[in-house]
Subunit: 477 residues, 2 copies
Amino acid sequence: MPAPKQILEFVDTNADAFIKRLAEAVAIPSISGEIERRPDVVKMAHWLDAQLKKYGVETKLVPLGKHVMDGTELELPPAVLGKIGKDPKKKTVLIYGHYDVQPASKSDGWNTEPFELHVHPTNGQLIGRGSTDDKGPVLGWLNILQAHQEAQLELPVNLQFCFEGMEESGSEGLEDLIVKEAAPAGYFEGVDCVCISDNYWLNMRTPGLTYGLRGLAYFKLTVKGPARDLHSGSFGRMVHEPMTDLIALMSKLVDSQGNILVPGVQDLVSVCDDKERALYDSLDYSIQDVEDAVGASIALSSDKATVLMGRMREPSLSLHGIEGAFYGPGAKTVIPAKVSGKFSIRLVPPQTPDTVGDLVVKYVEEEFKKLGSKNTLEVENLHGGKPWVADHEHWNYEAAIRATEAVYGKKPDLFREGGSIPVTLVFAESLGKNVVLLPMGRGDDGAHSTNEKLDRSNYIEGTKLLGTYLYEIAAQA
Amino acid sequence: MPAPKQILEFVDTNADAFIKRLAEAVAIPSISGEIERRPDVVKMAHWLDAQLKKYGVETKLVPLGKHVMDGTELELPPAVLGKIGKDPKKKTVLIYGHYDVQPASKSDGWNTEPFELHVHPTNGQLIGRGSTDDKGPVLGWLNILQAHQEAQLELPVNLQFCFEGMEESGSEGLEDLIVKEAAPAGYFEGVDCVCISDNYWLNMRTPGLTYGLRGLAYFKLTVKGPARDLHSGSFGRMVHEPMTDLIALMSKLVDSQGNILVPGVQDLVSVCDDKERALYDSLDYSIQDVEDAVGASIALSSDKATVLMGRMREPSLSLHGIEGAFYGPGAKTVIPAKVSGKFSIRLVPPQTPDTVGDLVVKYVEEEFKKLGSKNTLEVENLHGGKPWVADHEHWNYEAAIRATEAVYGKKPDLFREGGSIPVTLVFAESLGKNVVLLPMGRGDDGAHSTNEKLDRSNYIEGTKLLGTYLYEIAAQA
Ligand SMILES: [Zn+2]
Ligand SMILES: [Zn+2]
Ligand SMILES: [Zn+2]
Ligand SMILES: [Zn+2]
């Protein structure tokens, strides 16, 4: 059951007004990670709340308490919750999105002012901070609400909304709220499925659906030796040097082909069978795509499925850097006294930060003993999140797939992502309901980069997609 | 032939005046590494010049041209050259010292103002920047000149002086001057030996003499992959990561016991025979000394001679850090696009920056090929200096040894140092004369640290030592 013609036509007819609304939203620099922008984040919450109310949504702003950022205590921006429709015969869909954005300033290399939506005169790109992450998708829902109000049509499902203003800064305060409201008699009572639009197509050509996210375990290895930094002229080859030990340990974690060397970590992962492999083979993706994206011919394999599986269904270990060592330009002959290596492992089911963390700590401590160093080692399992994989044969996905086919005339790529959107797992686990990640933007939108954009066609067709998805949900009731 | 009683008594009688002069010198913050202090370095040159003139030294200030520091073009501070005595029957001794100092500010952790000489009320330490490095020793020579002038005694040798104001900033401009003036008919014509007092006892108890310095070869390994930093969620296990390759390479350079793993580097070093080993066994030094100095029980061996040989007659390889990786506190999941590992090798004869550099470059490039990475590697041999070892049975050393015995009543430790004073090699090679490093200060003076000090007894007895050394030189004529 595609969306009614009136709705689709309304979207086309009102495209320019929708873009104007996006410009209004982008003009509020709701950067959650900057203290001085906090009032703008709150302003954005009120703007969104007013829009929802205008289209008949019953809303409430939920305070999430205080937190400390860069030494300053701040009020967290409120969660914006909303409900429209209470028909027990209809499915209830919970929509999540975020109204905060990443930092941006023209001097970072933007071609236009990041907080003035720029409509590219020839290719129609809508350029501005938050255009694709995540104001465009959030406004897609507003557009659909407006379309129904003005066409005087009832929504095909009951809707609930949960919009937050701290996503780009760790979603502080949200998990507690979700867990509380997902409990019996909570605000989210009656929710049948969840839809999150905060992700992207795999490429620039084919719409997609995300059904999995990797988790994360982040580690800090600290090797401590002398009481203060030493000069290599005075002490080189007299004492055990912390950097030597740390580099030795870090070299034993992953090899140049991306294989994780920590025993047991790879063993936790299921072997890919032919059916699963076929799924990766079928994706509209090429080695050229990844090499274009990174700007160099450095793919780990010339086999497309292998490369995609590396991101989507394999764990990865990346060495991020070292704290406490010499990092500037030039040449210093220091023996650093205390150095901390940072690395993280992206996790796939059934790995968890705890199971993988235990393996890492045990292994690193054993390897350190083998070095025979008199320095001391501390291994910290800093933080992490579990991976998430949804049942992509669930009716929630069926609806999203059919909606995509209806709007774009082609089957969406079904894939897992390499990063994490921690709130996904919180919804999935606390509600016990299926969650679909239904993207509006393309793979080259540059969500956290300079010149972030959302293609005009993705905004407009994406709005239709969100609307159609609701009708496809209703059709399965 | 010890120094005449009159000279030694003059030194004792005038100790307070000498300390006052040191306070005057310390009060001029002649930091060569800070643009805004350059006028103070020049002021110090003029102060020193006036002092030398006062005691009958014929001087000249030699401009050394301009250089660029932190993007600013600056006039280099002048070299202060001087001569006193032209008796062809006497030996001619060339004295080197430097009148610039390391940066210092109270906020770095000094207990007193670094540029106000503080005389500790109970232990008599003379605390201030430059007290021991190198204003104290330079003033030792002034004290001796004054003693001879006021006692109306002729100096036992002809003296030449070469004082520079850029030692702490790479001695820019000096090498050319020395090479030029060491040539026939140059300013240094007729010099028979060189004495440099810019080093320290091995410990806090026994005077010493330094007859060797290690050289240095500094390397930068740059691994480049993607065109820009990547997010490990998006690209982890899709591409070859530069950090993984770099850490693998750095782990193959040195082991936790200090052994250099680059083939051929250790082979260049002569094996220590029993006679040489006896020399290290004889030094007044203990494992406790090194562990006290570094503030931790991390000596590479429990054998004192092995630990000393590590610093004095073995090459050492230290890993200093990585440029381009994540170095801050906290947790970032970046895949750095381009990372440069910095390490250096301290060299001993017959190693040179070139011979060792070739071995390192070849080895690192071979090891990189073994990694099978599609990233690119660049190996740079950044800069370096040759090691230096003097003949410690030369009459110049005999004189310094006898002077030490005369003043301190004990044989000096004869040792090599782990660092480098590049000007030493320039004098030795361009003049073809023996150079002795005759220290005034103790091993715990903290030359480049906060609360730099020179013990009162080292300043006063050290002044006697410098004077006596001249008489012992004369006695060997
Ligand atoms: Zn987002
Ligand atoms: Zn984002
Ligand atoms: Zn010095
Ligand atoms: Zn110095």
